[in-house]
Amino acid sequence: MIALRRVLGLLAGIAIVIGLDWAGRLGLNPYIYGVLVLCAINVILALSLNLVNGITGQFSIGHAGFMAVGAYASAAYTVYASPILFGPGYASSAWLTAGAFLLAILVGGLASAVAGFLVGLPSMRLRGDYLAIVTLGFGEIIRVAILNIDAVGGARGFAGVPQRTNLAWVLGAAWITFVVIRNLMKSFHGRALLAIREDEIAAEALGIPTTRYKVTAFVIGAFFAGVAGALFAHYLYLHTNSFTFMKSIEIVIMIVLGGMGSLTGSILGAILLTALPEVLRFASSLRLIIYSLLLIVLMIARPQGILGRRELSFPKRRAPEAPRPTPAS
Protein backbone atom coordinates (compact mmCIF):
# COMPACT_ATOMS: atom_id res chain seq x y z
CA MET A 1 0.00 0.00 0.00
CA ILE A 2 2.66 2.46 1.05
CA ALA A 3 4.77 1.57 -1.98
CA LEU A 4 1.81 2.11 -4.27
CA ARG A 5 1.10 5.48 -2.68
CA ARG A 6 4.71 6.49 -3.17
CA VAL A 7 4.71 5.50 -6.83
CA LEU A 8 1.45 7.34 -7.38
CA GLY A 9 2.83 10.37 -5.56
CA LEU A 10 5.95 10.29 -7.70
CA LEU A 11 3.92 10.08 -10.91
CA ALA A 12 1.60 12.85 -9.75
CA GLY A 13 4.60 15.00 -8.89
CA ILE A 14 6.17 14.50 -12.31
CA ALA A 15 2.84 15.20 -13.99
CA ILE A 16 2.39 18.42 -11.99
CA VAL A 17 5.92 19.60 -12.74
CA ILE A 18 5.66 18.94 -16.47
CA GLY A 19 2.10 20.26 -16.61
CA LEU A 20 3.05 23.48 -14.85
CA ASP A 21 6.02 23.91 -17.11
CA TRP A 22 3.88 23.53 -20.24
CA ALA A 23 1.24 25.80 -18.82
CA GLY A 24 3.98 28.25 -18.03
CA ARG A 25 5.37 28.19 -21.53
CA LEU A 26 2.01 28.42 -23.22
CA GLY A 27 -0.12 30.64 -21.06
CA LEU A 28 1.82 32.68 -18.55
CA ASN A 29 3.48 35.91 -19.45
CA PRO A 30 7.29 35.77 -19.18
CA TYR A 31 7.36 38.05 -16.14
CA ILE A 32 5.22 35.77 -14.00
CA TYR A 33 7.09 32.76 -15.37
CA GLY A 34 10.34 34.38 -14.22
CA VAL A 35 8.98 35.13 -10.75
CA LEU A 36 7.85 31.49 -10.45
CA VAL A 37 11.32 30.24 -11.36
CA LEU A 38 12.89 32.53 -8.76
CA CYS A 39 10.29 31.39 -6.22
CA ALA A 40 11.30 27.77 -6.73
CA ILE A 41 15.01 28.56 -6.50
CA ASN A 42 14.37 30.43 -3.26
CA VAL A 43 12.33 27.50 -1.96
CA ILE A 44 15.39 25.26 -2.42
CA LEU A 45 17.57 27.80 -0.62
CA ALA A 46 15.14 28.23 2.25
CA LEU A 47 14.64 24.48 2.73
CA SER A 48 18.35 23.82 2.76
CA LEU A 49 19.06 26.63 5.21
CA ASN A 50 16.24 25.40 7.40
CA LEU A 51 18.05 22.09 7.71
CA VAL A 52 21.00 23.91 9.27
CA ASN A 53 19.23 26.68 11.19
CA GLY A 54 15.79 25.36 11.96
CA ILE A 55 16.33 21.63 12.38
CA THR A 56 19.88 21.40 13.67
CA GLY A 57 19.65 24.69 15.55
CA GLN A 58 22.90 26.15 14.24
CA PHE A 59 22.98 29.72 13.07
CA SER A 60 24.36 30.17 9.57
CA ILE A 61 24.03 33.51 7.76
CA GLY A 62 26.37 32.75 4.87
CA HIS A 63 24.11 30.69 2.66
CA ALA A 64 24.61 32.94 -0.37
CA GLY A 65 28.27 31.97 -0.29
CA PHE A 66 27.40 28.31 -0.85
CA MET A 67 25.00 29.34 -3.55
CA ALA A 68 27.81 31.29 -5.22
CA VAL A 69 30.16 28.30 -5.12
CA GLY A 70 27.52 26.10 -6.74
CA ALA A 71 26.64 28.73 -9.32
CA TYR A 72 30.19 29.42 -10.42
CA ALA A 73 31.34 25.79 -10.31
CA SER A 74 28.44 24.63 -12.46
CA ALA A 75 28.75 27.57 -14.84
CA ALA A 76 32.47 27.01 -15.27
CA TYR A 77 31.78 23.33 -15.86
CA THR A 78 29.14 24.08 -18.49
CA VAL A 79 31.29 26.61 -20.30
CA TYR A 80 34.67 24.89 -20.16
CA ALA A 81 34.18 21.16 -19.49
CA SER A 82 30.92 20.05 -21.07
CA PRO A 83 31.95 20.71 -24.72
CA ILE A 84 34.93 18.41 -24.08
CA LEU A 85 32.87 15.75 -22.29
CA PHE A 86 29.92 15.70 -24.65
CA GLY A 87 31.58 16.76 -27.90
CA PRO A 88 31.57 20.29 -29.31
CA GLY A 89 28.14 20.10 -30.96
CA TYR A 90 26.26 18.54 -28.06
CA ALA A 91 23.94 21.49 -27.61
CA SER A 92 22.06 20.57 -30.78
CA SER A 93 20.71 17.43 -29.11
CA ALA A 94 18.04 18.04 -26.50
CA TRP A 95 18.90 14.85 -24.62
CA LEU A 96 22.60 15.57 -24.43
CA THR A 97 21.88 19.12 -23.31
CA ALA A 98 19.63 17.88 -20.56
CA GLY A 99 22.25 15.34 -19.51
CA ALA A 100 24.96 17.97 -19.47
CA PHE A 101 22.75 20.28 -17.44
CA LEU A 102 21.92 17.57 -14.93
CA LEU A 103 25.62 16.93 -14.52
CA ALA A 104 26.20 20.68 -14.16
CA ILE A 105 23.66 20.84 -11.34
CA LEU A 106 25.37 17.93 -9.60
CA VAL A 107 28.79 19.54 -10.06
CA GLY A 108 27.45 22.73 -8.50
CA GLY A 109 25.95 20.85 -5.59
CA LEU A 110 29.06 18.78 -4.95
CA ALA A 111 31.43 21.76 -5.16
CA SER A 112 29.25 23.56 -2.68
CA ALA A 113 29.08 20.50 -0.42
CA VAL A 114 32.89 20.46 -0.30
CA ALA A 115 32.80 24.14 0.66
CA GLY A 116 30.20 23.32 3.29
CA PHE A 117 32.49 20.69 4.73
CA LEU A 118 35.43 23.09 4.84
CA VAL A 119 33.32 25.77 6.53
CA GLY A 120 31.51 23.40 8.80
CA LEU A 121 34.52 21.63 10.21
CA PRO A 122 36.40 24.50 11.88
CA SER A 123 33.18 26.34 12.69
CA MET A 124 32.17 23.60 15.04
CA ARG A 125 34.36 25.05 17.73
CA LEU A 126 32.06 28.06 17.71
CA ARG A 127 28.53 28.54 18.84
CA GLY A 128 25.66 30.95 18.39
CA ASP A 129 26.57 34.42 17.25
CA TYR A 130 30.22 33.59 16.76
CA LEU A 131 29.27 30.83 14.34
CA ALA A 132 26.90 33.25 12.62
CA ILE A 133 29.53 35.88 12.06
CA VAL A 134 32.04 33.29 10.81
CA THR A 135 29.58 31.92 8.26
CA LEU A 136 28.88 35.49 7.19
CA GLY A 137 32.63 35.97 6.85
CA PHE A 138 33.03 32.84 4.75
CA GLY A 139 30.26 34.01 2.47
CA GLU A 140 32.00 37.33 1.92
CA ILE A 141 35.42 35.71 1.45
CA ILE A 142 34.00 33.38 -1.19
CA ARG A 143 32.44 36.32 -2.99
CA VAL A 144 35.64 38.37 -2.97
CA ALA A 145 37.66 35.34 -4.06
CA ILE A 146 35.37 34.74 -7.04
CA LEU A 147 35.59 38.44 -7.86
CA ASN A 148 39.33 37.94 -8.31
CA ILE A 149 39.21 34.85 -10.57
CA ASP A 150 39.50 36.06 -14.12
CA ALA A 151 38.49 32.76 -15.78
CA VAL A 152 34.94 33.20 -14.48
CA GLY A 153 34.74 36.85 -15.43
CA GLY A 154 35.76 38.46 -12.13
CA ALA A 155 34.08 41.80 -11.60
CA ARG A 156 32.58 41.77 -15.11
CA GLY A 157 30.33 38.83 -14.36
CA PHE A 158 30.41 35.45 -16.07
CA ALA A 159 29.16 35.89 -19.64
CA GLY A 160 28.33 33.07 -22.02
CA VAL A 161 26.57 30.69 -19.67
CA PRO A 162 23.73 29.18 -21.74
CA GLN A 163 20.24 29.60 -20.35
CA ARG A 164 19.04 26.10 -19.57
CA THR A 165 16.97 26.46 -16.44
CA ASN A 166 13.23 26.32 -16.89
CA LEU A 167 10.28 25.88 -14.60
CA ALA A 168 10.34 22.07 -14.86
CA TRP A 169 13.95 21.86 -13.72
CA VAL A 170 13.52 24.19 -10.75
CA LEU A 171 10.24 22.66 -9.64
CA GLY A 172 11.73 19.19 -9.90
CA ALA A 173 14.78 20.24 -7.91
CA ALA A 174 12.65 21.98 -5.26
CA TRP A 175 10.49 18.92 -4.93
CA ILE A 176 13.50 16.59 -4.55
CA THR A 177 14.96 18.94 -1.96
CA PHE A 178 11.73 18.88 0.00
CA VAL A 179 11.41 15.10 -0.11
CA VAL A 180 15.04 14.50 0.85
CA ILE A 181 14.98 16.90 3.79
CA ARG A 182 11.57 15.75 4.98
CA ASN A 183 12.61 12.11 4.91
CA LEU A 184 15.87 12.96 6.61
CA MET A 185 13.99 14.81 9.32
CA LYS A 186 11.77 11.81 9.96
CA SER A 187 14.67 9.35 10.08
CA PHE A 188 16.87 8.30 12.96
CA HIS A 189 19.46 10.86 11.84
CA GLY A 190 16.86 13.60 11.71
CA ARG A 191 15.91 12.96 15.32
CA ALA A 192 19.58 13.25 16.24
CA LEU A 193 19.66 16.66 14.54
CA LEU A 194 16.53 17.75 16.41
CA ALA A 195 18.10 16.56 19.65
CA ILE A 196 21.12 18.77 18.95
CA ARG A 197 18.79 21.71 18.40
CA GLU A 198 16.97 21.15 21.66
CA ASP A 199 20.00 20.61 23.87
CA GLU A 200 23.45 19.99 22.53
CA ILE A 201 24.98 18.85 25.79
CA ALA A 202 22.17 16.43 26.52
CA ALA A 203 22.43 15.07 22.97
CA GLU A 204 26.12 14.50 23.41
CA ALA A 205 25.52 12.81 26.74
CA LEU A 206 23.15 10.43 24.99
CA GLY A 207 25.94 9.37 22.67
CA ILE A 208 25.05 11.40 19.59
CA PRO A 209 28.26 12.40 17.81
CA THR A 210 27.22 16.06 17.66
CA THR A 211 30.16 17.37 15.65
CA ARG A 212 29.67 14.79 12.91
CA TYR A 213 25.97 15.51 12.72
CA LYS A 214 26.45 19.26 12.64
CA VAL A 215 29.02 19.01 9.85
CA THR A 216 26.72 16.62 7.95
CA ALA A 217 23.86 19.10 8.23
CA PHE A 218 26.15 21.83 6.90
CA VAL A 219 27.26 19.63 4.00
CA ILE A 220 23.72 18.63 2.97
CA GLY A 221 22.49 22.19 3.35
CA ALA A 222 25.39 23.45 1.25
CA PHE A 223 24.76 20.80 -1.40
CA PHE A 224 21.22 22.00 -2.01
CA ALA A 225 22.29 25.64 -1.87
CA GLY A 226 24.79 24.73 -4.59
CA VAL A 227 22.01 23.12 -6.62
CA ALA A 228 20.00 26.33 -6.29
CA GLY A 229 23.07 28.29 -7.35
CA ALA A 230 23.56 26.07 -10.40
CA LEU A 231 19.94 26.60 -11.43
CA PHE A 232 20.32 30.33 -10.90
CA ALA A 233 23.56 30.46 -12.92
CA HIS A 234 21.84 28.91 -15.93
CA TYR A 235 18.92 31.28 -15.70
CA LEU A 236 20.01 34.86 -15.08
CA TYR A 237 23.23 36.70 -15.84
CA LEU A 238 25.83 35.48 -13.41
CA HIS A 239 27.50 38.15 -11.30
CA THR A 240 28.87 38.10 -7.76
CA ASN A 241 26.49 40.93 -6.85
CA SER A 242 23.73 38.31 -6.68
CA PHE A 243 25.46 36.62 -3.76
CA THR A 244 26.09 39.41 -1.31
CA PHE A 245 25.48 39.28 2.39
CA MET A 246 22.00 40.69 1.73
CA LYS A 247 21.07 37.54 -0.18
CA SER A 248 22.08 35.40 2.81
CA ILE A 249 19.99 37.60 5.07
CA GLU A 250 17.06 37.31 2.70
CA ILE A 251 17.16 33.52 3.01
CA VAL A 252 17.31 33.76 6.80
CA ILE A 253 14.27 36.05 6.71
CA MET A 254 12.40 33.49 4.60
CA ILE A 255 12.84 30.71 7.12
CA VAL A 256 12.16 32.89 10.15
CA LEU A 257 9.07 34.34 8.53
CA GLY A 258 7.75 30.91 7.62
CA GLY A 259 8.63 29.43 10.98
CA MET A 260 12.01 28.00 11.92
CA GLY A 261 12.06 24.23 11.74
CA SER A 262 8.90 23.98 9.66
CA LEU A 263 9.58 22.77 6.12
CA THR A 264 6.26 23.87 4.69
CA GLY A 265 6.85 27.13 6.53
CA SER A 266 10.11 27.59 4.61
CA ILE A 267 8.31 27.03 1.34
CA LEU A 268 5.64 29.53 2.33
CA GLY A 269 8.23 32.06 3.49
CA ALA A 270 10.27 31.71 0.32
CA ILE A 271 7.24 32.20 -1.92
CA LEU A 272 5.94 35.13 0.12
CA LEU A 273 9.26 36.88 0.24
CA THR A 274 9.90 36.44 -3.48
CA ALA A 275 6.42 37.53 -4.44
CA LEU A 276 6.07 40.40 -1.96
CA PRO A 277 8.51 42.85 -3.60
CA GLU A 278 6.84 42.10 -6.95
CA VAL A 279 3.35 42.64 -5.55
CA LEU A 280 4.50 45.90 -3.98
CA ARG A 281 5.73 47.23 -7.32
CA PHE A 282 2.66 49.45 -7.54
CA ALA A 283 4.07 51.50 -4.68
CA SER A 284 7.31 52.13 -6.67
CA SER A 285 9.62 54.20 -4.46
CA LEU A 286 7.83 53.27 -1.25
CA ARG A 287 8.11 49.57 -2.10
CA LEU A 288 11.13 48.69 0.02
CA ILE A 289 9.98 50.90 2.89
CA ILE A 290 6.69 49.04 3.05
CA TYR A 291 8.59 45.78 2.77
CA SER A 292 10.86 46.58 5.72
CA LEU A 293 7.99 47.87 7.85
CA LEU A 294 5.99 44.72 7.11
CA LEU A 295 8.96 42.69 8.24
CA ILE A 296 9.17 44.54 11.57
CA VAL A 297 5.42 44.40 12.15
CA LEU A 298 5.29 40.69 11.34
CA MET A 299 8.10 39.96 13.77
CA ILE A 300 6.38 41.93 16.53
CA ALA A 301 2.97 40.42 15.85
CA ARG A 302 4.07 36.86 15.21
CA PRO A 303 7.57 36.26 16.54
CA GLN A 304 7.50 32.51 15.94
CA GLY A 305 6.90 32.94 12.21
CA ILE A 306 3.77 32.22 10.26
CA LEU A 307 3.63 28.50 10.95
CA GLY A 308 5.84 28.28 14.01
CA ARG A 309 7.07 24.72 14.11
CA ARG A 310 3.92 23.25 12.68
CA GLU A 311 3.67 21.82 9.20
CA LEU A 312 0.96 22.41 6.65
CA SER A 313 -0.51 19.16 5.45
CA PHE A 314 -3.58 17.80 3.83
CA PRO A 315 -5.90 16.43 6.52
CA LYS A 316 -5.41 12.72 6.70
CA ARG A 317 -8.36 10.43 6.61
CA ARG A 318 -8.72 9.11 10.10
CA ALA A 319 -8.94 5.43 10.78
CA PRO A 320 -12.44 4.55 11.98
CA GLU A 321 -12.47 5.06 15.70
CA ALA A 322 -12.57 1.96 17.81
CA PRO A 323 -15.77 1.78 19.82
CA ARG A 324 -15.14 2.98 23.30
CA PRO A 325 -15.42 0.42 26.00
CA THR A 326 -18.58 1.16 27.83
CA PRO A 327 -17.98 1.73 31.48
CA ALA A 328 -18.88 -1.24 33.51
CA SER A 329 -22.09 -0.62 35.27
Binding site: E140, L288, S292, M299
Partner: protein
Protein backbone atom coordinates in the same frame (compact mmCIF):
# COMPACT_ATOMS: atom_id res chain seq x y z
CA UNK B 1 59.32 52.00 5.19
CA UNK B 2 57.75 55.38 4.47
CA UNK B 3 54.98 53.52 2.60
CA UNK B 4 54.39 51.36 5.67
CA UNK B 5 54.02 54.31 8.01
CA UNK B 6 51.81 56.11 5.52
CA UNK B 7 49.43 53.15 5.39
CA UNK B 8 49.65 52.84 9.17
CA UNK B 9 48.57 56.46 9.59
CA UNK B 10 45.67 56.04 7.17
CA UNK B 11 44.73 52.78 8.88
CA UNK B 12 44.68 54.31 12.34
CA UNK B 13 42.40 57.12 11.19
CA UNK B 14 40.02 54.70 9.46
CA UNK B 15 40.26 52.22 12.32
CA UNK B 16 39.20 54.88 14.83
CA UNK B 17 35.96 55.23 12.90
CA UNK B 18 35.41 51.46 12.99
CA UNK B 19 36.16 51.53 16.70
CA UNK B 20 33.54 54.22 17.35
CA UNK B 21 30.89 52.22 15.49
CA UNK B 22 32.01 48.96 17.10
CA UNK B 23 31.46 50.47 20.56
CA UNK B 24 27.75 50.81 19.86
CA UNK B 25 27.54 47.19 18.73
CA UNK B 26 29.39 45.88 21.70
CA UNK B 27 27.40 47.85 24.27
CA UNK B 28 24.05 46.77 22.87
CA UNK B 29 25.23 43.20 22.49
CA UNK B 30 26.58 43.18 26.02
CA UNK B 31 23.18 44.10 27.39
CA UNK B 32 20.64 42.52 25.05
CA UNK B 33 22.64 39.81 23.23
CA UNK B 34 21.29 41.45 20.07
CA UNK B 35 23.30 42.08 16.91
CA UNK B 36 21.92 45.51 16.18
CA UNK B 37 22.13 45.41 12.40
CA UNK B 38 20.62 48.87 12.14
CA UNK B 39 23.66 50.40 13.83
CA UNK B 40 25.55 50.93 10.56
CA UNK B 41 22.57 52.83 9.25
CA UNK B 42 22.40 55.01 12.34
CA UNK B 43 25.96 55.98 11.42
CA UNK B 44 24.71 56.89 7.94
CA UNK B 45 21.93 59.02 9.45
CA UNK B 46 24.58 60.70 11.61
CA UNK B 47 26.55 61.70 8.53
CA UNK B 48 23.42 63.09 6.85
CA UNK B 49 22.28 64.88 10.01
CA UNK B 50 25.67 66.61 10.11
CA UNK B 51 25.37 67.42 6.39
CA UNK B 52 22.00 69.14 6.82
CA UNK B 53 22.98 70.84 10.09
CA UNK B 54 26.07 72.29 8.46
CA UNK B 55 23.88 73.52 5.63
CA UNK B 56 21.41 75.09 8.06
CA UNK B 57 24.18 76.79 10.05
CA UNK B 58 25.83 77.98 6.85
CA UNK B 59 29.24 76.43 7.47
CA UNK B 60 29.39 74.65 4.14
CA UNK B 61 32.10 76.77 2.53
CA UNK B 62 35.77 77.02 3.35
CA UNK B 63 35.52 80.71 4.24
CA UNK B 64 32.90 80.09 6.89
CA UNK B 65 34.63 77.03 8.35
CA UNK B 66 35.32 77.31 12.04
CA UNK B 67 36.13 74.75 14.74
CA UNK B 68 33.34 76.07 16.98
CA UNK B 69 30.72 75.55 14.30
CA UNK B 70 32.17 72.13 13.53
CA UNK B 71 31.80 71.15 17.18
CA UNK B 72 28.23 72.40 17.11
CA UNK B 73 27.47 70.29 14.03
CA UNK B 74 29.08 67.26 15.66
CA UNK B 75 27.07 67.67 18.86
CA UNK B 76 23.86 68.30 16.94
CA UNK B 77 24.16 65.14 14.89
CA UNK B 78 25.03 63.15 18.01
CA UNK B 79 21.87 64.37 19.73
CA UNK B 80 19.73 63.60 16.67
CA UNK B 81 21.09 60.07 16.45
CA UNK B 82 20.76 59.49 20.18
CA UNK B 83 17.06 60.30 19.82
CA UNK B 84 16.87 58.05 16.76
CA UNK B 85 18.49 55.20 18.66
CA UNK B 86 16.08 55.59 21.55
CA UNK B 87 13.16 55.66 19.14
CA UNK B 88 14.30 52.48 17.41
CA UNK B 89 14.69 50.71 20.72
CA UNK B 90 11.29 51.83 21.93
CA UNK B 91 9.28 51.11 18.79
CA UNK B 92 11.00 48.08 17.28
CA UNK B 93 13.17 46.26 19.79
CA UNK B 94 11.23 46.54 23.01
CA UNK B 95 8.17 44.66 21.69
CA UNK B 96 10.32 41.69 20.66
CA UNK B 97 12.54 41.62 23.70
CA UNK B 98 10.82 38.59 25.20
CA UNK B 99 10.80 36.73 21.89
CA UNK B 100 13.56 34.49 20.61
CA UNK B 101 16.84 36.11 19.68
CA UNK B 102 16.51 35.37 15.99
CA UNK B 103 13.20 37.25 15.97
CA UNK B 104 14.96 40.27 17.42
CA UNK B 105 17.70 39.85 14.83
CA UNK B 106 15.24 39.87 11.94
CA UNK B 107 13.59 42.94 13.46
CA UNK B 108 16.99 44.62 13.51
CA UNK B 109 17.47 43.74 9.86
CA UNK B 110 14.03 45.17 9.15
CA UNK B 111 14.97 48.44 10.88
CA UNK B 112 18.21 48.50 8.90
CA UNK B 113 16.38 48.07 5.59
CA UNK B 114 13.88 50.70 6.65
CA UNK B 115 16.56 53.28 7.45
CA UNK B 116 18.38 52.57 4.18
CA UNK B 117 15.29 52.89 2.03
CA UNK B 118 13.90 55.84 3.94
CA UNK B 119 17.33 57.40 3.45
CA UNK B 120 17.13 56.84 -0.30
CA UNK B 121 13.67 58.39 -0.33
CA UNK B 122 14.42 61.38 1.91
CA UNK B 123 18.06 62.15 1.13
CA UNK B 124 18.10 60.88 -2.46
CA UNK B 125 20.09 57.97 -3.83
CA UNK B 126 22.83 60.12 -5.34
CA UNK B 127 25.96 60.77 -3.27
CA UNK B 128 26.18 64.12 -1.49
CA UNK B 129 29.35 66.03 -0.82
CA UNK B 130 29.97 66.62 2.84
CA UNK B 131 30.77 70.30 3.52
CA UNK B 132 34.30 71.18 4.54
CA UNK B 133 33.39 72.41 8.01
CA UNK B 134 37.09 72.63 8.81
CA UNK B 135 39.52 73.89 6.19
CA UNK B 136 41.61 70.96 4.97
CA UNK B 137 45.37 71.07 5.37
CA UNK B 138 48.08 68.51 4.77
CA UNK B 139 50.76 68.04 7.36
CA UNK B 140 54.06 66.25 6.74
CA UNK B 141 55.15 64.18 9.69
CA UNK B 142 58.82 63.27 10.18
CA UNK B 143 59.75 60.51 7.73
CA UNK B 144 57.69 61.97 4.90
CA UNK B 145 54.33 60.61 6.07
CA UNK B 146 51.49 62.80 4.87
CA UNK B 147 48.41 63.22 7.03
CA UNK B 148 45.55 65.68 6.80
CA UNK B 149 44.37 67.71 9.74
CA UNK B 150 41.04 65.90 9.29
CA UNK B 151 42.69 62.56 9.95
CA UNK B 152 44.30 63.93 13.08
CA UNK B 153 40.94 65.28 14.15
CA UNK B 154 39.35 61.87 13.61
CA UNK B 155 41.88 60.23 15.88
CA UNK B 156 41.74 62.96 18.54
CA UNK B 157 37.95 63.12 18.65
CA UNK B 158 37.72 59.33 18.80
CA UNK B 159 40.18 59.16 21.66
CA UNK B 160 38.32 61.88 23.56
CA UNK B 161 34.99 60.09 23.05
CA UNK B 162 36.38 56.72 24.03
CA UNK B 163 38.01 58.07 27.18
CA UNK B 164 34.77 59.86 27.98
CA UNK B 165 32.79 56.67 27.46
CA UNK B 166 35.13 54.64 29.63
CA UNK B 167 34.90 57.22 32.42
CA UNK B 168 31.13 57.30 32.07
CA UNK B 169 30.83 53.52 32.27
CA UNK B 170 33.26 53.21 35.16
CA UNK B 171 32.51 56.26 37.30
CA UNK B 172 28.88 57.32 37.01
CA UNK B 173 25.84 55.73 38.55
CA UNK B 174 24.23 55.18 35.15
CA UNK B 175 27.42 53.57 33.91
CA UNK B 176 27.46 51.27 36.89
CA UNK B 177 23.84 50.37 36.22
CA UNK B 178 24.74 49.60 32.62
CA UNK B 179 27.45 47.22 33.73
CA UNK B 180 25.04 45.60 36.16
CA UNK B 181 22.38 45.11 33.49
CA UNK B 182 24.96 43.65 31.11
CA UNK B 183 26.12 41.27 33.83
CA UNK B 184 22.71 39.98 34.76
CA UNK B 185 19.54 41.75 33.70
CA UNK B 186 17.17 39.98 36.08
CA UNK B 187 19.38 40.41 39.11
CA UNK B 188 19.89 44.08 38.25
CA UNK B 189 16.15 44.53 38.02
CA UNK B 190 15.74 42.95 41.46
CA UNK B 191 18.26 45.42 42.86
CA UNK B 192 15.97 48.25 41.78
CA UNK B 193 17.76 49.26 38.61
CA UNK B 194 15.25 50.50 36.01
CA UNK B 195 16.52 48.12 33.33
CA UNK B 196 14.27 49.42 30.56
CA UNK B 197 15.53 52.94 31.03
CA UNK B 198 19.15 51.79 31.19
CA UNK B 199 18.72 49.87 27.93
CA UNK B 200 17.31 53.00 26.30
CA UNK B 201 20.31 55.01 27.54
CA UNK B 202 22.64 52.41 26.10
CA UNK B 203 21.03 52.76 22.70
CA UNK B 204 21.25 56.55 22.95
CA UNK B 205 24.93 56.40 23.86
CA UNK B 206 25.86 53.92 21.15
CA UNK B 207 23.93 55.83 18.50
CA UNK B 208 25.57 59.11 19.50
CA UNK B 209 28.98 57.50 19.04
CA UNK B 210 27.89 56.20 15.64
CA UNK B 211 26.81 59.73 14.71
CA UNK B 212 30.23 61.03 15.69
CA UNK B 213 31.74 58.38 13.43
CA UNK B 214 29.43 59.53 10.63
CA UNK B 215 30.54 63.14 11.05
CA UNK B 216 34.21 62.17 11.14
CA UNK B 217 33.93 59.99 8.07
CA UNK B 218 32.26 62.90 6.29
CA UNK B 219 35.34 65.00 7.01
CA UNK B 220 37.84 62.50 5.65
CA UNK B 221 35.82 60.85 2.86
CA UNK B 222 33.40 63.60 1.87
CA UNK B 223 31.11 61.46 -0.30
CA UNK B 224 28.06 60.35 1.68
CA UNK B 225 25.13 58.27 0.43
CA UNK B 226 22.26 56.30 2.01
CA UNK B 227 23.95 52.90 1.65
CA UNK B 228 27.28 54.04 3.08
CA UNK B 229 26.56 52.32 6.40
CA UNK B 230 26.17 48.77 5.15
CA UNK B 231 29.78 47.66 4.76
CA UNK B 232 31.29 49.70 7.63
CA UNK B 233 28.45 48.45 9.81
CA UNK B 234 29.28 44.81 9.17
CA UNK B 235 32.99 45.40 9.51
CA UNK B 236 32.55 47.29 12.76
CA UNK B 237 30.55 44.38 14.08
CA UNK B 238 33.34 42.07 12.99
CA UNK B 239 35.72 44.37 14.85
CA UNK B 240 33.60 44.09 17.97
CA UNK B 241 33.58 40.29 17.73
CA UNK B 242 37.28 40.25 17.03
CA UNK B 243 38.00 42.20 20.20
CA UNK B 244 35.62 40.09 22.23
CA UNK B 245 32.02 41.17 22.02
CA UNK B 246 30.72 42.91 25.10
CA UNK B 247 34.16 44.28 25.90
CA UNK B 248 34.67 48.01 25.39
CA UNK B 249 38.48 48.03 25.13
CA UNK B 250 38.10 45.00 22.85
CA UNK B 251 35.94 47.01 20.45
CA UNK B 252 38.57 49.75 20.28
CA UNK B 253 41.41 47.30 19.64
CA UNK B 254 39.33 45.36 17.11
CA UNK B 255 38.41 48.53 15.24
CA UNK B 256 41.99 49.74 15.01
CA UNK B 257 43.23 46.31 13.96
CA UNK B 258 40.62 46.17 11.26
CA UNK B 259 41.37 49.63 9.89
CA UNK B 260 45.13 49.09 9.86
CA UNK B 261 44.94 45.66 8.23
CA UNK B 262 42.62 46.99 5.55
CA UNK B 263 45.03 49.75 4.61
CA UNK B 264 47.95 47.33 4.65
CA UNK B 265 46.10 45.10 2.21
CA UNK B 266 45.31 48.09 0.00
CA UNK B 267 48.93 49.22 0.13
CA UNK B 268 50.71 45.92 -0.34
CA UNK B 269 48.26 43.54 -2.05
CA UNK B 270 45.28 44.83 -3.98
CA UNK B 271 42.29 46.91 -3.06
CA UNK B 272 39.98 44.18 -4.40
CA UNK B 273 40.87 42.06 -1.37
CA UNK B 274 40.03 44.88 1.02
CA UNK B 275 36.60 43.57 1.94
CA UNK B 276 37.83 40.02 2.54
CA UNK B 277 40.76 40.70 4.87
CA UNK B 278 38.49 41.69 7.75
CA UNK B 279 36.82 38.29 7.67
CA UNK B 280 40.05 36.34 7.19
CA UNK B 281 41.48 37.92 10.33
CA UNK B 282 38.22 37.31 12.15
CA UNK B 283 38.17 33.61 11.30
CA UNK B 284 41.80 33.11 12.24
CA UNK B 285 41.34 34.88 15.57
CA UNK B 286 38.12 33.07 16.41
CA UNK B 287 39.62 29.68 15.65
CA UNK B 288 42.48 30.41 18.01
CA UNK B 289 40.48 32.30 20.63
CA UNK B 290 36.77 31.52 20.23
CA UNK B 291 35.69 34.40 22.47
CA UNK B 292 37.71 37.09 20.70
CA UNK B 293 40.86 38.85 21.82
CA UNK B 294 39.62 40.27 25.11
CA UNK B 295 36.46 38.24 25.54
CA UNK B 296 35.96 36.07 28.55
CA UNK B 297 35.57 32.40 27.88
CA UNK B 298 32.20 31.35 29.14
CA UNK B 299 32.15 27.87 30.55
CA UNK B 300 28.97 26.03 29.86
CA UNK B 301 26.86 25.06 32.79
CA UNK B 302 24.99 21.82 32.59
Amino acid sequence: MQEFFQQLANGIAWGSIYALIALGYTMVYGILRLINFAHGDVYMVGAFAAYYLAGALGVGTITSASPLMAALVLLGSMVICALLGMGIELLAYRPVRRSSRITALITAIGVSLFLENAGILVFGADPKFFPQVIAPRTITLPGGVLVTNHQIMVVVVSIVLMVGLTLFIQKTRTGKAMRAVAFNRDAASLMGIPTDRIITYTFALGSALAAAAGFLVGLTNPKIEPLMGVMPGIKAFVAAVLGGIGSIPGAMIGGLLMGISEYMVVGYLSSTYRDAIAFVILIVVLLLKPAGLLGRNVTEKV
